[in-house]
Subunit: 158 residues, 2 copies
DNA sequence: TTTACTGCAAATATTTTGCAATATC
DNA sequence: GATATTGCAAAATATTTGCAGTAAA
């Protein structure tokens, strides 16, 4: 897992550009949260992110975290996932572009699958729709659960 | 939109087979809910489904609906989506297999895109993982929102 | 100075859970 | 008859909202 194609600096720049274009205010909270997301490396939920920010000696409210994530999604820096549980997960878009997600619906475990393994044509055309980003979720069973299932069947003499 | 590849009868059979294999009870609620899902044709959320069931003169509790959807997912008849809002949507798996989803993140509108348009190789291999089903979400901007955006820019002399 | 943004807390929305009643096996 | 499943309501979880205070422009 990596912070992705973009550096933290590049992402700050994109965020700044977006806020200036939309005439939004450049608050310390927004930049701090973006940096914390980069440091988190990978998927995160709102509560995890907020804890991480606070651990880095910066106090933010939950409301500001929700607000900022929304903003970062609008700016095209963050994408949203809902894999399995009720908790919504987020991820840096530049990182998400490098992989798909394999989700085991027995244990809820998530694996990243390099995009080269399952190539989706980037030039697909959809009438009356302008694609910007896509997300592929592959559901199935991980080897651990497969093993557990086999042991279970054996025990039951199936 | 169609009820999918399978007929209602076939799906009842699959459900029966699954419940017998797992030694679960064949309750009226479970069969009724499955039939209502088939009649709904397309995406639905828990509350919509429950209303539909009740409108068809059958009383079920919310708990039973949640329970049954979970069961139907385990039986491989229903898949889960979370497109945009906080509301989780479900769909018959056999219907979901025929299309991907194009999601406009400006208005939240969802379009179905025939799978032939964006073909995902069915034979992909993932180490230590057995794929069973996949879901492709294409995010972007629908033509209505594109038009609205253009009008807005024009008004602001951009 | 203006007002967008934050923090806080309360409100809403959604899902899960405990337990008694019921229906399946 | 044994117990899985349901219904009901309460609890838990997640997100949104209102409003006063703060800080960016």
């Amino acid at each position: 897992m990596s912070a992705g194609v973009y550096s933290v600096e590049k992402m700050r720049e994109i965020l700044t550009g977006y806020m200036e274009a939309k005439k939004l205010r450049k608050t310390v909270e927004r930049y701090t949260i973006l940096e914390c997301i980069c440091r988190l490396q990978g998927h995160f939920d709102v509560e995890t992110l907020r804890k991480h920010v606070v651990e880095n000696h910066f106090s933010v409210s939950q409301a500001a975290v929700y607000n900022t994530i929304e903003l970062l999604m609008d700016a095209g820096l963050v994408v949203r996932h809902q894999f399995f549980s009720q908790v919504v997960q987020y991820e840096l878009k530049s990182a998400a572009l490098t992989h798909h997600h394999a989700i085991c619906h027995y244990c809820g475990g998530i694996r990243e699958v390099k995009t080269e393994k399952v190539k989706i044509p980037a030039d697909y055309k959809i009438p009356k729709f302008t694609p910007e980003y896509h997300s592929l979720y592959i559901y199935g069973m991980c080897s651990k659960c497969k093993f557990r299932e086999r042991s279970q069947k054996k025990k039951n003499n199936e």
